[in-house]
Symmetry: C2
Subunit: 287 residues, 2 copies
């Protein structure tokens, strides 16, 4: 039997994909190679967790989520640009992504670099085009996303720290810092931006941040556990939770984080159901 969260995803994901399809330049738009690559890497059956979390945050306050869709898609573009660049030979050197050749294997390295650049640029342009919210609110979103994607506390910082840590022994707190910036920052921004544009109070936004920090870390620990089972990260000498704590203790840490996140989600009552069930999803998926 389907729970409310999977019903929610089933409804939101097609809308996200339709909006992405509309926002991304068509394959025929010159120069076609880079637009083919941008579409290849974005319209590829991703789980759309970040944009769905953004819609979930917005849905705490609003019933019609249509206005938030372009903003949620801008977040998904930023996520996909980072995957394209992370897969490059000079970075994680991954030939496959979601079971298909990664962007630089399907096209070439130059096109992959430029397709990533194009998605990052389009994300901000898309925010600039959004007119369902006040200009002041959108600028707040630009700042929040810039920080979450950026080099000091965001995704780029996380990727640098992650590359530097390869083959090194890292402490637990260092590993947490990597995860917080590499995965946590954009996940947190996703729910935060949704709730913010939905009209959340300052107090609610603080709760949302607390929730997100916990699911962000839990999300990455769960990913580490999965990867450990496939021995991928261990072979590469990547810093992971199982490498530091072992599988059992890692599971326990993730469960505790998810319990805390659930307690915060519950303070939103019925409107926070998606946030609560997202914790269940993370827990039951792989723990």
């Amino acid at each position: 039997m389907k729970n409310e969260l999977s019903v929610f995803f089933d409804r939101v994901v097609p809308e996200i994909e339709a909006t992405l399809d509309k926002l991304l330049p068509a394959q025929s738009v010159s120069p076609p190679q880079v637009h083919k690559a941008m579409r290849y890497s974005t319209l590829n059956g991703g789980k759309r967790i970040r944009p769905c979390l953004c819609v979930a945050g917005y849905s705490i306050y609003k019933d019609d989520w249509t206005p938030i869709l372009p903003v949620a898609c801008a977040i998904e573009m930023i996520h996909n640009y980072s995957l394209i660049h992370d897969d490059l030979p000079a970075m994680d050197d991954d030939d496959f992504r979601r079971g298909r050749p990664s962007c630089h294997k399907q096209f070439n390295e130059a096109i992959a670099i430029l397709a990533g650049d194009g998605l990052l640029t389009l994300a901000f342009e898309t925010l600039g085009q959004t007119n369902s919210f006040s200009a002041d609110s959108i600028l707040q979103v630009v700042r929040t996303l810039g920080l979450a994607a950026g080099s000091t506390r965001g995704m780029i910082a996380g990727q640098v720290l992650d590359l530097e840590a390869e083959g090194m022994s890292v402490t637990a707190s260092h590993l947490e810092a990597i995860h917080r910036s590499k995965t946590g920052a954009l996940l947190t921004a996703s729910v935060w931006i949704g709730a913010y544009l939905g009209g959340a109070s300052t107090g609610d936004l603080e709760k949302i941040t607390r929730y997100c920090e916990r699911i962000g870390l839990a999300f990455q620990i769960v990913d580490d556990i999965l990867d450990e089972k496939q021995s991928r990260d261990r072979d590469r000498g990547k810093a992971t939770y199982p490498a530091i704590y072992g599988i059992d203790k890692s599971r326990e840490i993730a469960r505790n984080l998810l319990n805390e996140a659930r307690a915060t989600a519950d303070t939103f009552g019925g409107r926070g159901l998606m946030l609560r069930q997202f914790c269940d999803y993370l827990e039951h998926r792989q723990l």
Copy 2:
């Protein structure tokens, strides 16, 4: 004897550099490697043509250009990100930039990719932080810069077209399309954004666009002529004006464009002096 333009540059460039220095994360900010690379590639004695043109556009309407400096610096960050990525081995494979090792030679490829990503992200975040203009105006700047840097008609489109044209015989109109997107779009956006935030009328903005399209193309032809003399682009089979038209005809085309641009600059009277003298600068620099 110095003309007004070089006096203007002498005054503006140090302010641009001081503002860049303030906006870029310090070298010590974690993770230091990427911030060292962002600063290495940005604070490197560049000519600052784009931010100065932005200030020049603003100065048609306002005497105190302090408020426009962060916006001008965002444009310079986007320019520098594109140079870092263009120099990568998978792209133009240039080991040197302004007489020093290019970013990926000084650091490594991963850091160079991430430093470029970081500068692009910081450029938009900087716009989001700007509070000297209305939020609506800044969102217009976000859209304009997104388009100028983007994959359909901007810098990314130009780089893709340029890479595709290597070793191919291209028509004059194709070459103009490459230049218009690769160099012209961001140059045009620079003056346009300055004038727009200065309060230019729609009619003035149309004239500014006409002016910029001409100097943008002339700028690139002049660059082509210089590179031709150094045989760099010819060896690589790059599409250039001298390759299609020969040096003399290329010079004539550039001169005509600059005459047209000067005529447009003159319609702004004394306030357009910088724009007029920028044409002289381009002409006397290398023609």
